[in-house]
């Protein structure tokens, strides 16, 4: 019996290849997109789960409220917090602190490298997190001052094949210049770890070097806690305010809250948290968005399947009737049709595997190589997708199965089985839904593209083009700023040279006070440490007063502020006003600079204070001419190498740095464009199939109409009229929904485009045109056909 069903399935398929192709192609595209997105999503969800005690680990996050009600979350906490928490709370089994150090120059004999993955940490990290020691003993590895544990890649880089244990790496870490003894080698951090370091040195080094390090005054460390088995984190969370009150003076605990963030949330739920040490930060919004898209595409393919199968049911109805007549049970026929759709789904799934394999590298690079997705050794994953394929087959097959198997055999005798009027309404509703999704995705995409273009065209308040930056990693390199500048400016291709902060970085923040009419008013502002000529090199404009100048020796006690700062403090005549810092130093305002985007376009411009501080400048900035950029880079490198032979040369261009800052939006943008096109394609595949079917069904009608004098245009119009209505209805459904969600998305940006009619009309029109293109091919051929041929079917 089963074989007989199987035979009809396969012979049916070979008898209607186009429809089979449409079903398989749609599902294959669906599975491909689904598999790719699931690889990405599972990778995002897998962050930090490899830690054996992951369910008991929490990061302590600090919530700071300013008197004006501004809230910011920071991942850095007071150094004394961790030991105190452990003493105070019996629920806490262990605590650990990390400090990520800025890039340092390290060397072992003649091997010198800049390292940006150096952290200082408590030895308890080995109890809390899961590390794989290749050499060394985790319980003693970070016990002593100047102990260091390195990963395998770093071990090979410095020591080659020799045993690193007991050897010394020299690190120039400002506060502690000296030799660190290698006490352990660990396996490289897995890609799905939010912590990722090449070197971990004992935090005791810092405790000795910085006397204030054990206090409550500053936020320097990232704190993690490990709860005892069975202990609830809510008990700890509830008692944290009391704990803070008992530890801190009132001016510090006021406006301060602590909360425990589960380790497994750190990667995806930290978008709003500042000063993190995550090696990359994921976004739960993206995970949700892409999962939704994956489901959409599969859903669209399912709709195609349901529509085509039910539309063509008249053709299958005969077979069903005969089988029932000969005594087949209703249930057997349901199994047959569900089986058939499962066969199609499995076939599509098998086809999608090589397609995924082929697309994977491109997909990876589109995701900026951040995600290591591969399905080598991913049998459970593939099995999961396979089961989903079967489920999709089941879902897509259930309705057609019940629909088809409900044919009553008595109708066979009466010759009425050819009627396919049933289900037409459902079919139209499903197509409308498909096009709604397509219109929605295209609208969303064009709005995202609009917002991204707005970013790149929005005046930033400075000129980011042809601006080269070279990081200044230490005191020695900063001391050479005047000399390097002097040499470089001699070259005609170098337009200006200075040093300072990189726009887009956001710099650091501090609290300052200004004396106004109503006494001192205090505020947290951003700050930037810059050299003479910074404003000119960056192409920034002064609104009032002047910039720092060598002609005014007193400028070391002067500041420049931005327009927002003036507004925030309500200053009428800012020049000459005095600004006081927390340690009591007083600076005079000598100029107001035009607002420029210092942090991110996602945020509003904050009040900013610029200090003249060549010894704290983070970057050397070189404005180069457009001509012969390559040789200018060579010149800068040569000059650098001559003056700082022990410092490897690194450089970048500001505009690339800035565009990388919007990487996650760019990523979403590219993928959304791709996916919405795919969605439209899948929807059109279905439309193509249905039109083909309708045209086949109406071939006699078309013939008669032509005999009676209908023109090609009449026939094309007759066949496309319905689609016009469907796309219009779909657009009307999709527009408000998309408007709601995209408006919410845009509200996440301080500087956003306003929503016009354009993206909505554009997407409706685009989808309509694609649908018409799909239709017209068949409508035209039907219109052009010889009516006698059509009527011969009689």
């Amino acid at each position: 019996m089963f074989r007989s069903y199987l035979k009809t399935i396969f012979r049916n398929i070979s008898g209607s290849r186009v429809y089979f192709f449409i079903n398989v192609a749609g599902l294959c595209i669906g599975f491909t997109i689904f598999t790719l997105i699931m690889l990405y999503v599972l990778n995002e969800l897998s962050y930090d789960t490899f830690n054996k005690k992951a369910d008991r680990i929490y990061r302590v996050v600090e919530l700071q409220k300013s008197p004006e009600g501004q809230v910011q979350r920071v991942a850095i906490t007071m150094p004394a917090l961790a030991p105190a928490l452990k003493r105070e709370f019996p629920e806490i089994e262990s605590t650990a602190r990390f400090v990520l150090w800025p890039t340092v120059l390290c060397h072992y004999r003649e091997r010198r490298f800049y390292e940006d993955g150096l952290a200082f940490a408590d030895s308890s990290i080995f109890d809390i997190f899961t590390f794989h020691f290749v050499e060394g003993n985790p319980s003693t590895a970070l016990n002593g001052t100047d102990d260091i544990v390195i990963d395998q890649t770093t071990a090979r880089k410095y020591f080659g094949d020799t045993d690193p244990i007991g050897k010394f790496i020299y690190i120039d870490a400002n506060i502690r210049q000296g030799a660190f003894q290698v006490t352990g080698v660990i396996r490289d951090f897995p890609e799905n770890s939010h912590l990722s370091f090449n070197m971990i040195a004992s935090i005791r080094t810092l405790e000795r070097g910085l006397h204030i390090f054990n206090g409550w005054a500053d936020n320097d460390v990232v704190t993690y806690i490990l709860l005892r088995k069975g202990a609830g984190h809510d008990i700890v969370q509830r008692n944290l305010p009391t704990f803070l009150k008992s530890r801190l003076p009132e001016n510090l605990w006021k406006g301060l809250e602590l909360y425990l963030q589960p380790l497994e949330d750190v990667h995806l739920f930290s978008g709003q948290i500042l000063y993190q040490i995550n090696h990359n930060i994921g976004s739960i919004e993206n995970v949700r968005l892409f999962t939704l898209i994956a489901l959409f595409v599969i859903f669209l393919a399912c709709i195609n399947f349901i529509n085509l199968t039910t539309a063509r049911s008249a053709i299958r109805a005969r077979e069903v009737g005969i089988r029932k007549l000969l005594g087949s049970y209703h249930s057997h026929l349901i199994y047959q049709f569900i089986g058939e759709s499962i066969v199609v789904a499995i076939f599509a799934f098998m086809l999608s595997l090589p397609v995924v394999e082929a697309i994977l590298p491109t997909f990876n690079s589109m995701m900026r190589d951040r995600i290591v997705v591969s399905y080598d050794n991913q049998l459970p994953f593939l099995l999961g997708i396979f089961l989903i394929a079967i489920a999709v087959g089941l879902i897509a097959g259930v309705y057609p199965a019940f629909y088809l198997s409900s044919v009553r055999p008595a109708e066979l005798l009466k010759g009425r089985y050819a009627s396919s009027k049933r289900g037409i309404f459902l079919r139209k509703a499903l197509i409308t839904l498909q096009f709604s999704i397509a219109v929605g995705l295209v609208t969303a995409t064009s709005i995202i593209v609009g917002q991204m273009n707005y970013f790149s065209s929005e005046p930033l308040g400075f000129n980011g083009k042809n601006l080269m930056y070279i990081p200044l990693r230490d005191v020695q390199s900063r001391s050479k700023i005047p000399l390097v500048s002097e040499r470089l400016i001699m070259d005609p291709n170098v337009i200006a040279v200075s040093a300072g902060e990189l726009t887009g970085s956001g710099g650091t923040q501090r609290e300052v006070s200004i004396l106004g009419k109503d006494g001192w008013s205090r505020r947290i502002v951003r700050e930037s440490f810059d050299d003479y000529g910074y404003a000119k090199t960056m192409g920034m404009r002064m609104v009032e007063g002047r910039y720092f100048s060598r002609d005014h020796p007193s400028d070391s006690l002067a500041v420049i502020v931005n327009e927002t700062m003036i507004k925030a403090f309500g200053l009428k005549k800012p020049i000459g006003k005095e600004i006081q810092t927390a340690n009591g130093s007083i600076y005079k305002v000598i100029g107001v600079i035009k607002d420029f985007n210092y942090f991110s376009l996602r945020n509003k411009i904050d009040p900013l204070v610029m200090w003249l501080a060549p010894n704290r400048c983070q970057y050397l900035l070189v404005r180069v001419s457009k001509k012969d950029v390559k040789s200018t880079i060579n010149l800068v490198q040569k000059t650098w190498n001559t003056l700082l032979p022990n410092h490897p040369f690194e450089y970048g261009f500001l505009h690339s740095y800035l565009s990388a800052r919007y990487g996650s939006e760019r990523e979403s943008e590219h993928l959304l464009i791709l996916f919405s096109l795919v969605a439209v394609l899948v929807a059109c595949l279905g439309l193509f199939g249905l039109t083909m079917h309708t045209t086949e069904q109406r071939i006699k009608e078309i013939g008669i109409r032509k005999v009676l004098g209908a023109s090609v245009t009449d026939v094309v119009f007759m066949l496309s009229r319905e689609t016009i209505w469907l796309v219009l209805t779909a657009s009307v459904i999709a527009w408000p929904v998309t408007y709601y969600f995209m408006n919410r998305w845009l509200n996440g940006f301080a500087y956003r485009i306003s929503l016009t009619l354009f993206p909505f009309l554009f997407s409706g029109l685009l989808v309509f045109m694609i649908a018409m293109l799909t239709l017209s091919f068949q409508a035209m051929s039907a219109g052009l056909s010889n009516p006698s041929e059509a009527l011969r079917y009689e």
Binding site: S4, R11, R318, I322, G327, S328, A410, L412, L413, G415
Partner: protein, 234 residues
């Protein structure tokens, strides 16, 4: 074999109620060859549908092989159908995706006949109906007469006791029509009960009894005295 008592079949659409069969009483005994005739819309096909257990009557009783089947579930009807009833249609109703052999084999698959025996039964019936050479052909590759022979083969392959034929000659030329009638007659001689719906008085005369329908009523039952014997003709 078949007893109908006051059988009624009513079709209801939104507002219209159509009485397809009104108070029909009928008895058909094993081994009979009955022709049902009547003008279009007189309820011939509806009657056949009910006799074939494809539909339940609205009122009245239908006894098939001594069992009241007027209110059976579709599943029970399917069971009775597959074991006892063979169908032959005007438009053959073969499954286009299956070969001649596979089409004939289908009822045996439903009954659950073992593979070897199934093969023997199919071969025997194909041999009897002279279609063995066509065994691997698909229905579309056969002439109308050949297709109807396959349909007849399918109707009798499981030794069904009752053959229901709905205008079996309607789509055939006279030569092929004669041939099919001969086949039905032969099957009747071999013991099968045949009930045939037909427009044609000529083909009706092959039966030994004619049941006439008009507007859903059984108006006349003629026992044909000079019933033609198949053996006589062949």
């Amino acid at each position: 074999m078949i007893r109908l008592y006051n059988l009624k079949k009513v079709y209801r659409t939104d507002q219209v109620e159509t009485i397809a069969i009104a108070n029909a009483n009928l008895r058909i005994d094993p081994g009979e060859f009955v022709a049902i005739t009547g003008p279009s819309g007189s309820g011939k096909t509806t009657l056949l549908t009910i006799l074939g257990l494809l539909d339940n009557p609205t009122e009245g009783q239908y006894y098939f092989l001594g069992e009241d089947v007027s209110k059976l579930s579709e599943k029970r009807r399917a069971d009775l159908r597959r074991k006892n009833i063979g169908f032959v249609f005007q438009n053959f109703n073969l499954i286009n995706q299956l070969t001649v052999y596979e089409n004939i084999e289908l009822p045996l698959l439903h009954i659950g006949v073992a593979s070897l025996q199934r093969k023997q039964m199919v071969m025997a019936v194909m041999d009897k109906l002279r279609i063995t050479t066509r065994r691997n052909h698909y229905p579309q590759q056969l002439s109308g007469g050949q297709q109807q022979r396959v349909a007849v083969a399918r109707a009798v392959v499981g030794n069904q006791k009752l053959i229901l034929a709905d205008e079996p000659t309607g789509n055939l030329d006279s030569r092929n029509g004669e041939e099919v009638m001969e086949l039905l007659g032969k099957l009747n001689e071999d013991g099968a009960t045949v009930v045939m719906v037909t427009h044609s008085t000529e083909y009706a005369s092959w039966a030994n009894r004619i049941v006439q329908l008009f507007d859903g009523h059984v108006t006349n039952e003629n026992i044909l005295e000079g019933m033609r014997s198949v053996s006589e003709l062949s």
